[in-house]
Symmetry: C2
Subunit: 290 residues, 2 copies
């Protein structure tokens, strides 16, 4: 029995067939173009294999995840041209005639890390990705975080010292929310070069400040047992240790837990599955749906 | 079969015997003095009745709620003199020889509202209290929010425009965290008079701004189906409608859900159980423990 997984991103889609990290039979990656073309390409990939019993999708969003909603499975307010109101799940279900499960990209990645990675055995944790945008999800009480819709960590508000950083932020909805100030897009817009190419100490100390404020808010609101930090921006070599140090100093010893003592190296961690967390978690979404 | 409930606050304790809002046989309230005296008074109250099968405690905190911890049930880093490391639960269990369940005051109130009040039928919601301090709890996926310890909403960081409000905040750990800026204690320290006596428009528009920022962070991080707002400060008559309007404008239409359309009057609500939410929820904690 094989499953299909799709990490449906705003820039690229990763599709895989298999059952887990040790059995990943085929993986393809292609750019996100029009909805019709992109969904057809994914459908063709799974059809040509012919063996998948179900497909899981970890999608960019926001996406309507309310089981009782007439627009379930649709991308809602995305600024990405052409993708608003697109129903990825139904289109693939019709094309493939198998069950299709859908969740956010970050909840899928969280599920992957829970099954095989940095969150095995935990019941309340976060997975946060810092890339072109900032997203967050995870589990609370042993199940993926849902509710009214799904978490949108990137859009929390954090302190913004305009004397230190007069940049207005890039979020089209909120300006200087966390994503507006600290996403890869914000770094490029503020500093004028790609984040990956920039080793300026000021860039990364400011980035660490904003991410640490966001993480402190996640810690005070959710009390996660661990936070997994993925995404392209987090690959910058010195960033994670700067973030750990700043989170520790912002918490100021208020919350008593041995996990928050010391250098936080067991508490704020990288995904064990690396860039494969999303697509592997999507396979697990598929498996759980049947 | 009766249960005992204790709303163990930093200023006063409310103890009740009964099974719910329609059957609240006895209620006493007394000031929080020394741990020994306060715990003994609660113990004597339940002993003299003799009928309680279990006691539930909704306590001020932070409190150690990890079932595997050697310091389970103890108040941890409170600045309240004499109360750090006090083990309320064990002391009462020994005195009464019945099961004793403990959770935070806000989780207890959330449980009460879930059983009988504003959160019946919901599985992911928040209960936030704005009083002397600010606390938050609730349910995620149908169970009270726990994790590393428990949520500490009051200590999230929010934007603080020092030109509009040069006040440094009153939190001894974090200065201008949400509680530091918007608790009843902060209002008194900033404006020089008790919050309840102050009808100055500037006081309440600033208060609404901070609370709205905190609520937006709760919405983006937890995606609650509803938020219940209790506590003494929230009794100020114009505050709730100011908060609703500001939350709506800060969200800026980003999250698609009918609950977030309109004036939020069904989304940001007062506790149906009013000031009894905590002690009634504590009864329910007791009932669930046996």
């Amino acid at each position: 029995m094989s499953y299909g997984g799709i990490e449906a991103g705003g820039t690229k889609w990763v599709c895989a067939i298999g059952t887990g990290p040790g059995d990943l039979r085929e993986v393809v990656t292609f750019p996100t173009t029009t909805p019709e073309e992109t969904i057809k390409r994914a459908g063709d990939f799974f059809t040509s294999d012919g063996s998948v019993a179900a497909v899981g999708i970890g999608s960019f969003g926001p996406i309507d995840l309310r089981p009782d909603s007439p627009t379930w499975g649709r991308i809602t307010t995305t600024p990405k041209p052409g993708w608003a109101s697109i129903d990825i799940a139904s289109a693939l279900r019709e094309a493939l005639q198998v069950p299709v499960a859908v969740d956010t990209d970050v909840n899928a990645a969280a599920l992957g890390e829970h099954r095989w990675g940095a969150a095995v055995g935990l019941d309340t944790f976060c997975y946060i990705t810092v890339g072109t945008g900032i997203g967050g999800g995870g589990m609370a009480n042993g199940r993926l975080m849902h509710g009214l819709q799904h978490p949108e960590f990137g859009h929390m508000r954090i302190p913004h010292d305009r004397e230190r950083d007069p940049f207005d932020g890039v979020c089209p909805y909120h300006g200087d929310c966390l994503e507006g100030l600290a996403s890869g897009e914000a770094i490029r817009a503020r500093w004028g070069s790609a984040a990956e190419d920039n080793s300026d100490e000021r860039v990364w100390s400011l980035e660490a400040e904003y991410l640490a404020l966001g993480l402190v808010n996640a810690i005070t609101m959710l009390s996660p047992q661990r936070i997994v930090l993925g995404g392209g921006v987090m690959k910058q070599p010195q960033l994670l240790s700067l973030v750990r140090a700043r989170v520790s100093s912002l918490l100021a010893g208020y919350i008593s837990a041995r996990e928050l003592d010391g250098d936080l190296s067991e508490y704020l961690v990288r995904p064990v599955l690396g860039d494969r967390a999303g697509v592997l978690g999507s396979l697990e979404l598929a498996r759980e749906s049947v």
